[in-house]
């Protein structure tokens, strides 16, 4: 049951992405083209998603915890650091080049279109590269006396 609800949440997410236009890179690029032939449609994806989630969270977070699991895994950090801003900046550049963010790319995998396969492989490689660099950095900082 627990696994099926995770699967269902994934299905719902994919249906939302495909219905909204997020799986069409030309639409994403049109949305990001503020200074040209701007296509405002995807603003409504954010409005719809944030509104539903915002209202639902009011009710969800009144409970003592989730149905499964000990507690709500809500990030507690509030500081703004260079990693957050730098990482988001790099992500935005990639988003503008390809017109894909992670969810729509994975949802589009079953099309088996070459650009999708290339994007997903390189996206996973980028994640793995980050992990590798992070491990090297952490190992280095743990062996350096502070």
């Amino acid at each position: 049951m627990k696994s099926l609800t995770l699967f269902a949440a994934g299905l719902l997410f994919a249906a939302g992405l495909a219905a909204s236009g997020m799986t069409q890179p030309a639409k994403v690029i049109g949305f990001l083209d503020f200074f040209g032939n701007w296509d405002p449609a995807l603003i409504f994806v954010m409005v719809g998603a944030i509104a539903v989630n915002f209202v639902a969270l009011r009710f969800i977070l009144r409970r003592s915890g989730p149905v499964w699991g000990a507690s709500f895994g809500i990030p507690t950090r509030r500081d703004l650091d260079a990693r957050l801003i730098g990482g988001s900046a790099l992500f935005g550049i990639g988003w503008g080049i390809g017109g894909f963010c992670p969810g729509p790319a994975l949802t589009s995998l079953p099309t088996l279109a070459t650009p999708i396969l290339v994007f997903v492989v390189f996206m996973l490689a980028g994640m793995a590269l980050f992990d590798l660099m992070e491990n090297v950095r952490l190992r280095h900082s743990s062996t350096t006396p502070s």
């Binding site: 099926l4 939302g16 236009g21 944030i50 390809g98 992670p102 994975l106 650009p115």
Partner: protein
């Protein structure tokens, strides 16, 4: 700006479904529906089954939508495979460094009014817009 009547209806419906999925993840599992975070765990260590179930749903959902409505997956952007590869690398690396993407920061974080997520979202939309501007006006629209 180009606008057709009712252009906002499907984006709004799709967005509501995404928001409902994120609410379900929090209510049932206490988890943030951040795609980059969920997927990266699968390839870099924490291969927990819950991640695979969610991503499985995402891919099977994509398959069902592709069968029902192939036009929803139209690839018409003027982007070469090399450009797509660079885009993938930047998206993968950037979302890990910045701890989230459009879903984790843009949908889940903003719905919680998290200052980090608001700054992240403004940042990636700004650099995305700047990138599109440069590609269109400096590079002639094709890369």
């Amino acid at each position: 700006m180009h606008i057709e009547p009712g252009f906002w209806i499907w984006p709004l419906i799709g967005g509501a479904l995404i928001g409902a999925s994120a609410a379900l993840m929090m209510a049932l599992h206490g988890r943030i529906a951040g795609i980059s975070g969920i997927v990266s765990g699968l390839i870099t260590g924490d291969r927990a089954a819950w991640r695979a179930w969610f991503v499985g749903g995402l891919v099977v959902g994509g398959l069902a939508m592709f069968a029902l409505q192939p036009a929803a997956f139209t690839l018409s952007a003027d982007r070469s495979l090399a450009a797509v590869a660079v885009a993938g690398l930047l998206v993968g690396f950037g979302t890990r460094l910045g701890n989230g993407c459009t879903s984790g920061h843009g949908v889940c974080g903003i719905a919680r009014l998290s200052p980090r997520s608001i700054v992240a979202t403004v940042t990636f939309i700004a650099t995305g817009a700047l990138t599109v501007l440069v590609i269109r006006s400096v590079l002639g629209g094709r890369i």
